[in-house]
């Protein structure tokens, strides 16, 4: 119990918990299957989904990353699992439907190869002896032998490499043992192997799959001085270059005292993390580009309004949009209209023209959308279509409680956006 507590504690700052991306039916005599969209099994007291058993194999570390609780110079309780212990735990948790599978990461014990070998042995045992057919996500340790990584990738569902920090400069400062190239190399390897295995599978039915759930990564937000623009552009580049399934952001929780880090009294930048996830959504599902959302003049997100509203305010020339005629990709650009409501709008308007009330029934967030739409040529007569009025209106509909207090002294929207930048 002690061991589990230590190694769960040590892994808790890792955010990528999803069990998604793989649809695999059960196999007679094996335990487990996997569902495309993933399943949440519980929610922690901080409101995050628990899907996988997320633990470190060990928290004994030979490295000394400044932001990490497990760095070798910290005096914290240490523990290591054995492969058998981890298998028993995973199997028995899964059987009781506590979890969707295992998310195994580790500190670096002795060397990257040594660590990965231990993780491989665990996963291999779980798949072979325990006949475990559930979801497995492993973290690839930078600096591991490519051949070893390939073996590991062939028996797991997802692999991820943490890029940790949004720029090489901050990496050098805060994680002196990690090099950018060491992080990029396994990402490239995973991407190439996925393509290679898929190609083989085209000619050979039943050929093994390589990380069918794809790869993901995560970076720490707020431990270094990087702007939101920098982070978002990097995110976009990651999706494009390495074909990542997800980029996760983790608001830095100060655990160490270090001259280059925020003090331990600093609250984690949760709003900033939230804004990054909102913008990440715009990249992945709404066909936005990073440089449309932020630019050198506006390199950070607004505290007060979400990234889509921020973008729309700066592009008022593209609005208002007629909901009864606009194509899907235009509807998606309207704040307050998401993928589901956009689809429903298109389906419902085949049977009659839509009003603002109808939009609400179709699931749109009308308190935001109303500023940006016309319904059958009509703009809401209660509203004025200009930057200042819309900005004030949006603040009243803001998702951030304290924005409503401060909107009284926010005058020019563009100025306010700059001031409000985190």
């Amino acid at each position: 119990m002690q061991k589990l507590s230590i190694l769960a504690d040590a892994a808790k700052y890792d955010v990528s918990c999803a069990s998604s991306g793989v649809n695999r039916g059960g196999v007679r005599g094996s335990l487990g299957n996997s569902v495309q969209g993933g399943i949440c099994h519980s929610f922690t007291s901080d409101g995050r989904c628990i899907s996988l058993l997320k633990v470190l194999y060990t928290n004994y570390c030979t490295y000394d990353c400044a932001y990490c609780i497990n760095r070798k110079s910290n005096d914290v309780p240490r523990a290591s699992f054995t492969p058998e212990e981890l298998c028993e735990l995973t199997y028995n948790f899964y059987l009781r439907n506590f979890i969707e599978g295992l998310f195994l990461s580790s500190a670096v014990i002795k060397s990257p190869d040594y660590t990965t070998e231990l993780m491989y042995r665990t996963v291999f045992l779980l798949r072979s002896k325990y006949k475990f057919n559930g979801y497995i996500h492993v973290k690839a340790i930078p600096g591991t032998d490519p051949a070893l990584l390939e073996r590991l990738g062939a028996i797991v569902d997802r692999m991820s490499v943490n890029i940790e920090l949004p720029s090489e400069a901050s990496l050098k400062l805060l994680a002196p043992d990690k090099k950018k190239d060491d992080i990029v190399a396994p990402m490239k390897l995973i991407k190439n192997k996925i393509i290679e295995y898929k190609d083989t599978a085209r000619h050979l039915r039943g050929a093994p799959k390589f990380v069918p759930g794809g790869q993901s990564t995560q970076m720490i937000i707020g431990a270094s001085g990087d702007t939101d623009l920098r982070i978002l552009s990097l995110t976009e580049a990651m999706y494009r270059k390495y074909d990542l399934k997800r980029v996760y952001f983790s608001a830095y929780v100060p655990v160490n005292t270090h001259p280059l880090l925020p003090s331990v009294l600093t609250a984690p930048p949760m709003l900033r993390e939230h804004r990054l996830y909102q913008a990440d959504f715009l990249l992945r599902f709404y066909e936005f580009r990073a440089d449309e959302i932020l630019n050198e003049a506006n390199p950070n997100f607004s505290r007060h309004i979400d990234p889509k509203c921020q973008w729309a305010l700066l592009h008022l020339d593209q609005f208002p949009i007629e909901v009864n005629r606009a194509p899907y990709n235009k509807l998606l650009r309207i704040p307050g209209i998401g993928q589901i409501s956009a689809k429903r709008i298109i389906q419902a308007r085949r049977h009659g023209s839509l009003s603002l009330d109808d939009l609400a029934k179709l699931g749109a967030v009308v308190k935001r959308a109303r500023f940006f739409v016309t319904c059958s040529g009509r703009y809401d007569p209660a509203l004025k279509f200009d930057e200042q009025s819309i900005f004030t209106g949006l603040l009243q509909a803001s998702d951030v409680p304290d924005a409503q207090l401060s909107f009284f002294n926010a005058s020019s929207p563009v100025l306010a956006l700059r001031e409000a930048a985190i």
Partner: protein, 246 residues
């Protein structure tokens, strides 16, 4: 006003829908579970006709599309007051609008069924995660839970696929409905064959370990109980291992 009264099964409902549709207006469909008669109403009890049900089922899926049938079935599982009549009115629209029906989000006779279907689908997905099994014998798992809608028929196939080398029972405590899987097939009914062993886990250590894990994986600095509560409503806590105090 003629009102057709069916039993609480989907077979019964579709039988009543058939008869109500044949009549001249006005008519209404209710189930024995929850109804109130009003003055001037004639109640016509409908006996469930399984053969007729089979015909209705294939008629609906071939003529209106399987999505219509699924919408009606899932909405029925919601057990919401008045849902039987809503399903009937949906059916009347579906006869005319066919495959287009599930997309008519604003039609007053379609929307209630779509809405109920969404609620049921959402809850059944949540239950895939929130159901907690106890290993009550070497090869037997038992889960008690209490969903708002009657989602047992929707969740059972998932576990039959996942836990296929075990026998298991999923027990909806509120409705006293059991899904029983014997390693080969799954039967849903109001009883369990044979006698149940005590429903305690033979290896309860894993429940303690899970509770410890649950506490340790949370980040104190990010504490947000309101968010937790909205994602995992209190009504489900009774059967969640990690929310039980020992």
């Amino acid at each position: 006003m003629i009102t057709f009264l069916c039993d609480s099964s989907f077979e019964g409902l579709l039988t009543a829908v058939y008869f109500a549709h044949r009549e001249d207006p006005p008519r209404r469909v209710v189930s024995g579970a929850s109804f109130q008669t009003s003055i001037g109403e004639t109640l016509v009890p409908v006996e469930t006709d399984y053969e007729l049900y089979g015909k209705m089922e294939s008629y609906i899926s071939s003529r209106c599309g399987v999505d219509c049938l699924m919408a009606m079935y899932r909405a029925y599982l919601s057990g919401l007051p008045g849902i039987e009549d809503a399903v009937f009115r949906f059916f009347r629209v579906a006869l005319v609008k066919k495959e287009e029906t599930p997309y008519m989000h604003l039609h007053p006779d379609v929307a209630p069924v779509l809405e109920a279907q969404r609620t049921v689908s959402r809850e059944s997905h949540k239950m895939l995660g929130f159901i907690r099994f106890r290993r009550i014998a070497e090869n037997l798992l038992y889960a008690a839970y209490s969903p708002t809608a009657n989602v047992t028929p929707l969740v059972a196939p998932h576990f039959a696929d996942r836990m296929n080398s075990y026998s298991w029972i999923i027990h909806d405590v509120t409705r006293d409905i059991f899904a029983v899987y014997n390693g080969k097939e799954c039967v849903i009914g109001h009883s369990v064959p044979g006698r149940l062993p005590p429903v305690a886990d033979i290896d309860a250590d894993y429940e303690d370990l899970w509770r410890a894990y649950f506490d340790h994986v949370a980040i104190a600095e990010r504490r947000n109980l309101r968010l937790q509560m909205s994602l995992m409503p209190k009504k489900y806590w009774k059967y969640l291992t990690e929310k039980q105090t020992v």
